[in-house]
């Protein structure tokens, strides 16, 4: 599989990219810092013991980088079967409430610009006759919740967009995989208190790769979060107002 990967330098993206490389998938890495990308590329090459991994600059805050970056990936890989997006911005609700500019930036990166990137990816995949678009949304988008009012709103929008893509383009060959990670112990959540069922990046990577292979449209990772969110989605508002979750 030939994969363009936005966000492979950190967290769950790093774990997923390593898993893909270890089974022989060919990767091309997109991200903000060329120096950091090069280090991750060397890591994937050494772990997989395979050929070289290419990189190109791509920043979710600079939409003009999207098309050239995907073009570079497609040219270098001589094809494109899958685009993965794990990149995004995170901040706590307290930090976002205190700083409206930060909130606006987060909404722009996690919704508008991520969708714009996916539009470029969608067009390239469909032009080749189809492929897989795997995007990391979040369980935070399942319900309006006190600790993730703003982050959750952006992820809810992203989830809906991915659902729409799946309905409209699956018949044309585009397989959309919307990943909804629960709490996963990464640098993004460092310093937050892990709830029960907190996951590890390697476990998430295995679940996501299986979903990519099968074309599962929605996947919770770790899987337990499907049931946690089933309960949360069905709680009455009166309860949601009282609990802190």
């Amino acid at each position: 599989m030939k994969v363009a990967f936005l966000g492979a330098t950190r967290g769950m993206g790093r774990a997923l990219a390593r898993l893909m490389a270890s089974r022989g998938d060919r990767l091309f890495l997109l991200g903000r810092s060329l120096e950091d990308l090069a280090r991750s590329a060397r890591d994937l090459e050494a772990r997989a013991g395979l050929g070289s991994v290419g990189v190109a600059a791509c920043d979710l805050e600079r939409p003009e980088t999207f098309s050239p970056a995907l073009g570079a990936a497609e040219a270098s890989l001589e094809g494109l079967d899958c685009v993965v997006v794990t990149a995004g911005l995170f901040a706590t609700q307290d930090a976002l409430e205190a700083d409206v500019d930060l909130a606006q930036r987060l909404l722009l990166v996690d919704f508008t610009n991520t969708v714009a990137f996916c539009e470029h990816a969608r067009k390239r995949l469909l032009a080749r006759g189809g492929g897989t678009l795997c995007v990391f949304s979040s369980v935070a988008g399942e319900r309006g919740r006190k600790p993730v009012v703003l982050y959750g709103a952006a992820k809810a929008g992203l989830t809906r967009y991915l659902e729409g893509l799946d309905h409209k383009f699956r018949a044309a060959g585009l397989r959309t995989v919307c990943v909804k990670p629960g709490f996963v112990k990464t640098s993004m959540t460092d310093g937050l208190k892990p709830p029960p069922f907190a996951g590890e990046p390697d476990g998430v990577a295995r679940v996501v790769l299986r979903a990519i292979d099968r074309g599962t449209p929605v996947v919770y990772a770790p899987g337990m979060w499907r049931w946690v969110m089933l309960v949360i989605r069905n709680l009455p508002r009166a309860v949601m107002r009282r609990i802190g979750f």
Binding site: T9, R10, G11, R14, R39, S40, R42, D43, A46, R47, G49, T186, S187, D190, G191
Partner: protein, 429 residues
């Protein structure tokens, strides 16, 4: 027990080390060497900085970020014919931690400590600069950093040489031996022929049976002896909860030790072993520390030099049993030559490592053991130490003034410190 302070985890470990008092890897040191001296001291965790930056299959040279674990190295590179150059009891340790403690393993008598296999280190020193050191560039800094417990700088990247394995399996022998003098003789005799040796001894048995135990020795199997497949990583069950403090007592430990010793039949066993089972027995059960109850345990590891003469290990065991130190696992190993690290632990002699459950009398027990070790001319291993007093440490470390001179040159304000360094060397806590 709530720990003072909190470690900061980031893939961008290099930035986090700016202004940090200490770095910490996977936290397998038994004492307070990876804990901050004050709650407000910043501790940088290296575990997310685990990228491999280069590997040359022609030479075995590996260049990686400091948080890469030995377990990942071994699992990735054993199928390609390489293994960690030294093999401590656990492989859930980082490259940075291996440098800081200058760890050793079953092949110390032949291959020395990890420092002997390090080519270069990339360090952030106390004034914030990032630089490389090696046996030829900034040699003093390099010697003070190998085994320097992270007190000379944050280890950011390590370049080391992996060892070649003839096959991915071990050919191993184990032998039951019934007293300490014969044990040490057999250990030294095995060392001449075998690259990997170590022993487990029953340190509760007294009199004629004192120091009875099981000696392990091994070498990489030749391709024609080994199974054709690559060993799959071992699954490890974990102890799911903390056992009550009374679970380990004189009687249960005696029963365990007796069972372990007497069930080793025939006297000598031979065969092919899985490398993880042979090299890293501590990883067989996850969270095994929970066995020691809510107060936990400490380790005590010392080396008794060859200059102490015949019988030093026997005198140590006599003192231990007289003081009632109930140790479940007592590991014995003959050490080879001293390495390049100025505070590196091993030196030619016999090393003994014990688990000591923490009780009210643990400080007095460690003091008594340390006094004997000083009298025999030996020293203790800082990666395992929680109770040694500053004056005892100074008495067993004639190399300390030289190390302190280099430490002061690179860190005149004492910015890099741990709970252990303040306990042993003084300084503002």
């Amino acid at each position: 027990m709530p720990l003072p302070g909190r470690e900061i985890r980031s893939e961008d470990y290099e930035s986090v080390t700016r202004g940090a008092a200490l770095s910490r890897g996977l936290g397998r040191s038994y004492g307070d060497s990876s804990l901050p001296a004050r709650p407000e001291d910043r501790v940088a965790s290296s575990v997310l900085a685990d990228r491999i930056l280069g590997f040359d299959p022609a030479t075995g040279v590996l260049h990686a970020e400091a948080g890469l674990s030995m377990q990942v190295i071994n699992r990735l590179f054993l199928p390609r014919g390489f293994y960690s150059p030294i093999t401590p009891g656990t492989q859930i340790i980082t490259l940075g931690g291996m440098v800081a403690a200058d760890v050793h393993g079953k092949n110390h008598h032949r291959d020395g400590t990890f420092g002997a296999h390090v080519r270069r280190l990339r360090l952030r020193v106390a004034d914030g600069r990032v630089l490389w050191c090696s046996p030829t560039e900034e040699r003093d800094l390099f010697r003070a950093t190998i085994g320097g417990m992270g007190l000379t700088g944050h280890v950011l990247e390590v370049e080391c040489v992996l060892a070649r394995a003839a096959s991915p399996w071990l050919w191993a022998e184990s032998e039951r031996i019934h007293d300490i003098d014969r044990f040490i003789e057999a250990l030294k005799a095995s060392a001449r022929e075998w690259p990997h040796t170590m022993g487990w001894i029953d340190c509760l048995s007294r009199g004629r049976l004192m120091g009875r135990g099981i000696l392990h020795r091994g070498r990489w199997a030749e391709p024609h002896e080994a199974p054709g497949r690559v060993p799959t990583p071992l699954r490890r069950p974990a102890l799911p909860f903390v056992l009550p403090g009374f679970a380990l007592n004189r009687f249960s430990v005696t029963a365990f030790n007796t069972l372990l010793y007497s069930s080793h039949v025939p006297r000598v066993k031979r065969g092919i072993r899985h490398p993880e089972a042979f090299f890293h027995p501590l990883d067989a059960i996850g969270h095994w520390n929970r066995m020691y109850g809510p107060r936990g345990f400490t380790q005590y590891q010392c080396v008794l030099p060859d200059s102490a003469g015949h019988g030093a290990a026997g005198r140590f065991l006599e003192l231990l049993t007289a003081k009632g130190g109930a140790s479940m696992l007592c590991v014995i190993k003959d050490c080879g030559a001293e390495g390049i690290g100025l505070l590196s632990f091993p030196r030619p002699g016999i090393s003994i490592a014990l688990d000591i459950p923490i009780r009210d009398g643990t400080q007095a027990l460690v003091d008594a053991l340390n006094e004997l070790v000083i009298a025999e001319g030996g020293r203790v291993y800082l990666a395992k130490d929680l109770f040694t007093r500053g004056e005892h440490f100074r008495a067993m470390e004639p190399r300390l003034p030289e190390w302190l001179r280099i430490k002061r040159q690179w860190d005149p304000e004492g910015r890099l410190r741990s709970a252990q360094s303040v306990r042993l060397l003084g300084g503002e806590p």
